[in-house]
Symmetry: C2
């Protein structure tokens, strides 16, 4: 049995919510979907999510105000995408530094505006605060078109595992920002991920489960397998579904490819599963579109995540990988040393 | 003409939202209601609000974790009360200090739980972050029972002005916490205001406009008069509608009574107006209840706020009073000196 509370973050959330009663109107249980699903009196399902840009600012991962604004909307829109909701609006809670310049604020608001336009979301309201520590919070909501949301629950052994796009950009960008201060060329990485809102609306009828890679690809696949009591076989070579920039950075930094899927900073793709009967529907659904889902592997009855190493499948220790960032307490060098330590243990 | 953007906070909000298009589904304009009002496809009106406890923690105004939790829910529930919404749920965005103790977190969550129980709200979901600077954000939503929300717009000259309860506790508590470190006895003030959710549901059919005193009573009355192009005559002596503790503190601190209505930290009562034809309905509505609305005065055609000083009515400079906290940059002594300066100018 893989427990959700083996993961430090899951355990913390379970402790926080232990004393809080659950609404009878809420149809998802804890951890079971990227956005909360609420049966409104009157028959519609409201999807709601809340997410902040705080640690990313404090750690220096995001400093460009336009990017902060763009990401504030994107992280929330991505949760709506992962349940297949039609976006309606977003509420903002903006805590500014008292010395924030007009120019900074203007660029931030432009990032918010452009992301809202991209996802057909509207800023409906907000709250402003001033503090030494800048934080940007958002709470987005939308409706589920025919009351059948997509959730993290539902995949079965034999289902195929997909990503909505190439993976690894989140880790590659973080690596370039936080580590590659030594002239490894990583600073040139462009990071402006787009939430897969349109794709989510279509996948809702096709996928057996779905979750976004906001916390990185391995965390996503690990969480899905834990929640569904299954395992994942990533049979495809990582280089075939990893974004080129991440492959490049992994070589420059001499890191195994899989570690670029391990970082807790993601790229906001959707990881989803499709039962074998629905593969044709998936292909048809996107035949006239630019969007090409990437096959990663398949769902298996045996718990855990396995990846290809040479010609062998090797097991990744999901909990260890996911807990490593918490345990490294924000120290990126220590985190990477931990990943390399794990890499030794997984060689076949 | 009284402009909303004479007020620093209003002006800042107008600048923030200038580049953001407004949703065609949103029925309230900027500033016009305590919660945002959204016409959901399907015919229901969703009320949504977002509010954080950030400055209150940073300034030391709130330090007890139970109070922080209670207030996090209360500030949001109060906005739902002021539009007459039936509460449904609240989303939380909790940023903890990395060294927050289990005991601290437990007490915080108990405050959240108890406030949710008091308002029949449920925590539906959340987001957790860690940062040197603790901040607690909430986004609450509810439905408007028969699609007729209460807003800040609608009062007319001749309408009577009420408060849902005695005023001044917010300022009295802030004064006791931030200033009275000199043994003036203020530390004994209990502050645990309750959002007027039940009263709001009833007032929705009676009041011509409504707003909560989250930013203090004078800010509330000033905002309502600006938005409606009217003025307010507070004909009743302040001591008759001020909470006893605030009257006491004002004497100890040798501050004029009105200054205890001026502070930007409120008590979460509802300020509302009722047309003369509906006074009887108001009395009847609460005849079998403990709840007794307090009459403050009436709405007048002449802009501004006037209060009783001895036997004379004197004008309060609304914009000056409301901008003083911003201009004092968090320095409470300077703020109070500013209030006393204003007091000199208003004497008849």
């Amino acid at each position: 049995m893989q427990l959700t509370n083996e993961i430090i973050e899951n355990d913390f959330i379970e402790r926080l919510t232990a004393v809080l009663p659950r609404s009878p109107l809420q149809s998802n249980k804890l951890h079971e979907s990227d956005a909360e699903l609420i049966d409104l009196p009157g028959g519609r399902i409201l999807a709601v999510t809340i997410d902040s840009i705080a640690e990313e600012i404090e750690s220096g991962l995001y400093s460009d105000p336009y990017l902060i604004g763009w990401m504030l909307v994107t992280v929330n829109a991505s949760d709506l995408a992962a349940v297949g909701a039609e976006p309606l609006g977003i509420m903002l809670s903006q805590t500014f530094s008292p010395d924030a310049s007009s120019k900074f604020i203007e660029e931030l608001q432009k990032g918010i505006r452009d992301a809202c336009n991209a996802y057909r979301l509207y800023v409906m309201g907000g709250d402003t605060n001033f503090s030494g520590s800048m934080q940007m919070g958002g709470c987005a909501f939308g409706l589920i078109a025919d009351n059948r949301p997509m959730t993290r629950i539902g995949c079965k052994p034999g289902d195929l595992l997909y990503s909505s796009g190439p993976l690894g950009l989140g880790s590659a960008y973080a690596l370039s920002r936080l580590i590659n201060k030594k002239g490894l060329g990583g600073a040139g990485i462009q990071y402006k991920p787009a939430a897969r809102v349109r794709e989510g609306l279509i996948l809702r009828d096709i996928a057996s489960c779905c979750m976004d890679t906001s916390d990185g690809a391995i965390a996503t696949i690990d969480q899905l397998t834990r929640l569904n009591g299954v395992g994942a076989e990533i049979e495809r070579p990582i280089s075939e579904f990893m974004i080129a920039k991440a492959v490049e950075i992994s070589r420059q930094a001499r890191l195994p490819l899989w570690t670029l899927l391990a970082g807790p900073h993601g790229e906001f793709e959707l990881i989803f599963t499709v039962s074998s009967e629905k593969i044709e529907i998936l292909t048809d659904a996107f035949s006239n579109s630019d969007f090409k889902p990437l096959k990663l592997g398949k769902i298996d009855v045996e718990p855990g995540i396995r990846i290809l190493s040479g010609n062998n499948m090797v097991s990744l220790p999901g909990a260890k990988i996911r807990n490593l960032w918490n345990e490294s307490r924000g120290d990126a060098e220590r985190y990477i040393a931990g990943l390399l330590e794990i890499n030794k243990s997984i060689s076949p």
